[in-house]
Symmetry: C2
Subunit: 392 residues, 2 copies
């Protein structure tokens, strides 16, 4: 059913006529259209004419190699990413990405990005991350037999610190202002393959969102149709863009006849994509206020998310920590314990209060174990408990 | 492909001719063969002649309703349990059960046990558990709209305390000696449906292992054959027995022509099934020494595990915390971060050092987030990090 990668080359989102070979992945953005203040990311172009439409029959299943013709070459072994369930919740569908190998959506990206490191012959992988992304990159690098360096934050929740360190990577907590210079140094001097952003506005790994496309393909199979709207937790918007691109490809291939509206659900403490969309800028950088939603707290936005929201007819939605807490609580009371950031899709849907002519999907990105505040409370045993103490 | 439940009745493991109606589930063991010291569990019998063999074609997929003809009625809604990936690791296959809705194998049991509560019209669910089982029961009860009472241990790791409390259940930490009397009181006085054991040797919920059978069905589809050996982390041995029963059914139905040897991997700090097997007893109770593998640390064994190991031609294997730590570390260095108890399958395989004529499966039960020691370390940021600090 699947087959070899049909990836042809990289293409600039700053100028769609600016194309580059597939390798090396241009991890510092488009060299033709980027400026010191505004960087444009690249995407991957495929030989779409050769895609067998049978690819879109049959079940999703774990291992995104299921979709290999529409992904860059998967040289890194799988950990069984993807194939996550779609759970009904009230009038929406929750795509539960906490069911991935390291319990977040990031595994889809890292299967692809670490594959690029392997294919490039890099001696290792380097990532700057406070949580999910660093752990996921470390896991895929470990699986592929590559060393990994994780530039971590000392502020991450303690359970997340253990998580990031579990996979045998070199994890070093560094001050936030040291992260990006060190990342660049590791890339330039050690030749490690970067799976984090290195530019003024976000570009990230050009192959990364390709992994997220598989969510769109799965949703199409799971719903039997294209949803009317998709709400995604949005930090750098790689997830948002990837899901959008997957649906755009389904229409391009004639497999589907429409695309969903895409809603970027950002923390109200930041919201660089909302700002760019409001001002008409290709991308924006904003100040960042306090929030517990550290997984989506980004001051730097990128052009991918702006393009996806705009081209899909969607909108940005800013959600407060209170919105997030309510969504998190209600999901947990339906059996789905999400990280605060992971509940942003549902929180955004609720805040928008709009009706849609078709299924609505809220992507839930990550397990509640990764949250701020987890493992800080103590619950001593009652000394002489009675039935009265147990009545709910 | 699937269809309604073909469950007919309950049958005693103490006397296979002692049968009982399917409802009510006999949650205090076989009333005919049990004594004050030794309780026999019950299992579910199906109308096997009516099973369509097409049930065993096609992919596993999440939601164990995939296998509904061979399960008790599934009256509780799904959280997308099951359909977990099988990952190669050296010469064995790892069945990664951390990919379930609450990130452990327990979700398969609780879908079935909470369904029994719903079908019984119980006003709630009660469980005594220090971790995964309590959280999973709380999640499925929440999803089904039933209140849940969790009698928890104050000694659980702090991240697990948050986990168990996340789903909106009434969670009360009680002294260990108060757990069983309180559980019984909640059952007798509030009419709550128990999903924990209530007998002198372990019997547990008669429907519980039926959920674990689905692991055997999935393994058969994933491997395209029956494995030669299955190593399971073993506490009360409900998982072990369930997997064994699934394979025994495949042979009974003529779908497979052999069954695997089953190996119960118990902590050397306890090991009630190893003791029963060594002495020829139907079940045993042992003292429990110190161990960090709290998820499989049981002093009370049951007849299910004894029967499964014996009837399958397997053996018990006792693993030390050191065995577990090595297995946990090596799995993590291949991208699979398991709870210490969750690594017992691999640890048991390694300790046994036996060759098998066919595939070997080690079941890995739960995410590393649930471990003792998680969230206890702090990693302050280096003040002036340099490249030298990052070299792996």
């Amino acid at each position: 059913m699947n087959g070899p990668s049909l990836a042809l080359r990289q293409r600039s989102l700053g100028d769609l006529s600016a194309e580059f070979p597939l390798f090396p992945p241009l991890t510092r953005g488009c060299p033709k259209t980027s400026t010191a203040e505004l960087a444009y990311p690249l995407e991957v172009v495929y030989d779409y004419a050769k895609v067998d439409r049978d690819l879109f029959t049959g079940p999703p299943g774990p291992d995104i190699a299921r979709w290999s013709p529409l992904l860059p070459p998967l040289d890194a072994p799988t950990l069984g990413e993807g194939g996550t369930p779609l759970i009904t919740f009230g009038d929406v569908h929750i795509k539960d990405e906490s069911r991935n190998p390291t319990w977040s959506h990031k595994d889809r990206l890292n299967r692809v990005a670490v594959s690029a490191a392997v294919a490039s012959g890099a001696p290792g992988v380097v990532v700057a991350s406070s949580g999910n992304h660093g752990a996921s990159a470390a896991a895929y690098a470990a699986r592929a037999g590559l060393p990994a360096i994780v530039l971590a934050s000392a502020d991450s929740p303690p359970a997340v610190q253990a998580f990031v360190r579990s996979y045998g990577a070199k994890v070093v907590s560094v001050p936030v202002e040291a992260r990006w210079p060190l990342l660049r140094q590791v890339v330039d001097e050690l030749g490690y393959h970067p799976v984090s952003n290195q530019t003024a506005t976000h570009t990230g790994h050009p192959f990364g969102p390709e992994g997220y496309k598989t969510i769109a393909y799965e949703l199409f199979l799971q719903l039997g149709t294209v949803p009317a709207a998709v709400f995604t937790p949005t930090g750098y918007a790689e997830l948002l863009y990837g899901v959008w691109k997957g649906f755009a490809e389904l229409r391009l291939l004639g497999v589907a006849d429409r695309t969903p509206r895409m809603f970027s659900c950002e923390t109200a403490a930041g919201g660089p994509h909302a700002k760019a969309l409001a001002t008409g800028a290709p991308a924006a950088v904003v100040g960042l206020g306090p929030t517990d939603a550290y997984g989506v707290a980004c001051s730097v936005g990128g052009h991918r998310g702006v393009a996806a929201v705009r081209d899909s007819g969607g909108d940005p939605v800013l959600v407060t920590d209170e919105d997030l807490r309510l969504a998190q609580r209600d999901l947990a009371r339906a059996g789905l314990w999400q990280e605060l950031s992971g509940a942003a899709g549902l929180a955004g849907y609720r805040r928008l209060r709009r009706d849609f002519d078709g299924p609505v999907v809220c992507i839930a990105t990550s397990s509640g174990f990764k949250d701020v505040g987890v493992a800080t409370e103590r619950h001593p045993a009652l000394e002489e408990p009675t039935l009265e103490d147990l009545i709910p």
